[in-house]
Symmetry: C2
Subunit: 208 residues, 2 copies
Amino acid sequence: MHRKMPSSGIYRLALYSRHLDSLGNREDEYISSQELAEATGNTAAQVRKDLTYYGSIGEPGKGYKIKKLRELLMEAFGKKEVRKLVVIGAGNLGMALIAHSGFRTQQFKIVAAFDRDARKIGKVVENVMIYNIQNLETVVARTGADIALVCVPYYSAQKVIDKLVLAGVKAILNFAPAGRITVPEGIKFQNVDMSIEADRLYYLLKND
Amino acid sequence: MHRKMPSSGIYRLALYSRHLDSLGNREDEYISSQELAEATGNTAAQVRKDLTYYGSIGEPGKGYKIKKLRELLMEAFGKKEVRKLVVIGAGNLGMALIAHSGFRTQQFKIVAAFDRDARKIGKVVENVMIYNIQNLETVVARTGADIALVCVPYYSAQKVIDKLVLAGVKAILNFAPAGRITVPEGIKFQNVDMSIEADRLYYLLKND
């Protein structure tokens, strides 16, 4: 139905979707590209361009019907189903992600966590059970999780990711700063580097 | 010297900068917009457009001189100086950020961390001292840190951010999922939501 969206465009669509989700009681109203732009740090022209991927859904002089646009984006991001995640590695970062409210408020559900540390295995954190990583394949397969958040040390990342693929995970967010990770064709893979937001702020400090 | 860059453009520039940093032994060569695009998940047209902010620095048929482009971007992101950060809140997320290699490899330096928990105060983690948050203003002022990474619970975020501004911090990355944070004019502020990358992967799962 729509053309292929570049990676940075998907990021912007995610921001639009979240902003629309936050407008609950305005569902029957319209939102202008300018308003969406201001709420998400983009230009109105960029918003209009991004949304042409969904056809001519804007109405001249009115903007976008909030309800309709929100539905389209919920569909695009799988928010109409439960989006199941697993967390691999229950160290500081894994624990922080399990507790992160962003995953709770955005129709995500962390269905299991894994660690190799016997002191952690069997514990329940924020309603999430920590399993022995040796049981990763069976537990992940049973939960039907689509995405794994990988928070293991860099030297374990590739091995864990290989196991996740065997277990049926279709997409992997790698928070472990590993060098080159390889995944089979068809598996979605993304490195997440939390330090890049600090780059962005330094840019603003130096150039504004 | 260059025009105002939109927020998503700064993010792309940060990716280009990091890719160039990784090409150490190719400094005397050229890089094409296509190669930069492939390495960072953008289109060649987008790369060329972003880099026009720096004037006509590409050479027809050759591309960009790696050394020159890298220098320009290092300047833009303040990477020619030590980029000093402080971490507020030494819970799971704060500890994960202190240990995060992305901050160590990108000319960032975390110069201090703060917490209110007496069991943490005085400890040194990855060469970073954890100070009593009551001493935030004096310690931050002494370190000369520009940016603070705020990892406190949401109900403390505004109070901590007010203190940081008084201490002279110019930019704040807020990892605490607080509602509306207000900062004075001139202070750069950015919320970081680690769950948005999961949105992006779900989009790819649903639409590819």
